[in-house]
Amino acid sequence: MREQQLQDILRHMPAGVATLQGPELRYGFVNDAMQAVLGSPITEGQSVMEQPGIIPADLLDVMQQVYQRGQPYIAKAYCLPLADNNDGTTAPQRYYDVALEPVREGGSQVTGLLLFAMDVTGQEEARQRTHELAIETRRLDTRLRVLTETVPQITFTVDAAGTYEYVSPQWHYFTGQPTTADLNIIWPLLIHPDDRLRVLYQTEAARSAGVGWSYEYRLRRHDGQYRWMLSRALPELHAPDKAVFWHGALTEIHDQRELAEVLRRGEAELRFLADSIPELIWTATAEGFIDYYNKYSGEYSGLSGEELGPAGWISLLSPAEQAGAARRWIHSVATGESYEGLYRMRRHDGRYRWHIIRARQLTDARGLRWFGACTDVDDQHRLRQVLQTQYDELARTNRDLDTFVYTASHDLKQPLLNLRGLFDELRRTASFNDPQEEEIVVMVDDALYQLDLTLQDLAATVQDQRGLSAPAEPLDLRSVTEEVLLGLRTQVQESGAVLELDFEQVPTLTYGRANLRSILHNLLSNALKFAHPERTPHVLLRSTLADSGNPILIVQDNGRGMILPEEPAPVFQPFTRQHPQIGGAGVGMYLVQRIISSRGGHLEVASVIDEGTTFIIHWFDALNA
């Protein structure tokens, strides 16, 4: 009865229980749990040695040894391979505490073994996980240490009492203190005396409030120099409001601070400079909002920077100019184009003065900004206005004078004609009792002829000055020259002159037609008029390109030549005559020169007495005119 009860208990035990009998270790009693462990069904009397099933050889070996020696043995967390699942997949490994107990039935002789197998897979896995975690923790710890000891910052840990618990080796490198130095005593002593009290107080305050800190102070370096450091620390909270440690880092910021100081100083100096200049100077943000006006802006406008505001400068301009100036500024801000304009700006006393407003964009590491200046050009502007008025007046007077000359020459023509008529009449009807009569008559005739020519030339001068603005058009040089020669055909025939025309290289010229005719007429008639009395006149006209690429015309004769004045500039003045013995008013070359220079060119002349004269007309001085 009791045996039966015992068997029931053993059968339902969660651990595997089996008895193995005899040296062959034949299965006796095998409970359900053990059946499950062993997998394949076990029949009583089956020998483990012959049919080990899943039991590995080493366990079989141990079983035999325990049987022989009679000493119990427990294999902890022994891995038993489970029978493969039915579907062929490998079953997970399981771990058992396997206990082997020798059984002695009636005497000291071992007659069998009691086999216990307690499933400890859960515990074993947990243990392995713990092991892996420990390895991982060690790895992380190593990494953290390497990191904290290789970053340029000094890292530290302070406990709740304010005692330094850890400081990275960088502290020792920086301060030059031996590793044996007592941090809590030495550290405060290394802080710059001017900063020490503040730092100690701030640390204390942050610690008692349980919050982090961030402040800057000077710390003594190994070479005795004090360097600016940034100290930042955060609390490690073990309960919501219970900070146990503060972990922090010290960063050397000396160079940044120096740089910032230099920048601050530089900015202050620039601001001082801007404030000292008697011009309105301002800066604006990238969006075009003015954020700084110099002192003079306030003095000039009588308004503070606050009153002027980010766009207030517009309201200083004269009302009619405001809209245009605003549009232009918006355009500049949108496109980045520089701003420039001439506006009247109201002074504090209500007077408007002309200003040039200029602004340019500057892009640097600190972003984009506008820099502007308003320069007072009122005096210059007014002076320019006065000059303009005077210039206009002079131009008008000049025009009036031209008209006067023209009308006068015109008006004088009629009396001259009358005079000539009267003289002819007088010569026909009256007779003088004078042996020199013939001579005098010729002289009077000559004088009258001269007067007529002068009047004609005067009229022509004025007329041509009027014609200076005639529109330029492409002209065929050969046809214009032939037209002019047609008008001079009598002179050409009389002198028997040889004319050589070479317009091959530059056949056309864009010029005023009347002007070109006037120039050619003057040059050609001069060449004929001042021909050398001992040889046939030979005149060459050649149109070509100068070295500069601009068209030129060369007019060369073999005439009398002339003495050129020393000053090369204005060779020909009106009423100056090179050859007084030959008739002329002396306005011809003056006219030619005026036309050429008014069209942007110049006249060059070279001459040798008794050999000839060469005129070179540079039509245009500017390139590609």
Partner: protein
């Protein structure tokens, strides 16, 4: 009567839903407080002109500047004005899905923003134009018609 112009940055981009909520909230509050003006929004840039009585506007701006939805609030101007320049309060932005918005009271597509009214001084009108430029950028405001 005063008006205030400020610009600011949204702390995170506002969705269509956020914008619709803001539009409804502001219209309701502004109508009650008799505040008129215009708000521009684009890609996190915010600018607003509000006009009303000083005793309403100053506290309103205090509340606006403390609103957690935006930061970097920069008050550009706050000054007395003779009369209102905006008949009501409206808000201009580009919704991702414009279909639902067209019908909303007080909503404006940025392309439909009218030039600053002539009742503003030229300086203030220019400021409003600069603010618009700062919010919407130089991009052609009109969407390309395809």
């Amino acid at each position: 009567m005063i008006h205030i112009i400020y610009i600011s940055r949204a702390v995170r981009p506002l969705s269509d839903q956020d914008l619709q909520g803001l539009l409804a909230q502001c219209r309701r509050d502004n109508e009650r407080n008799n505040v008129t003006g215009v708000l521009f929004y684009s890609h996190g840039n915010i600018a607003q002109l509000i006009e009303g009585e000083a005793e309403t506007l100053n506290p309103l701006f205090e509340i606006i500047s403390r609103d957690g939805r935006h930061s970097n609030v920069n008050k550009l101007i706050s000054k007395p004005i003779g009369a209102r320049s905006f008949p009501d309060w409206s808000m201009a932005f580009h919704p991702l899905e414009p279909n639902g918005f067209e019908a909303l009271q007080g909503f404006l597509l940025p392309t439909h923003i009218t030039p600053p009214p002539s009742s503003l001084t030229i300086a203030d009108a220019m400021l409003l134009d600069l603010v618009k430029l700062a919010v919407f950028g130089v991009e052609p405001l009109a969407p390309k018609s395809i």
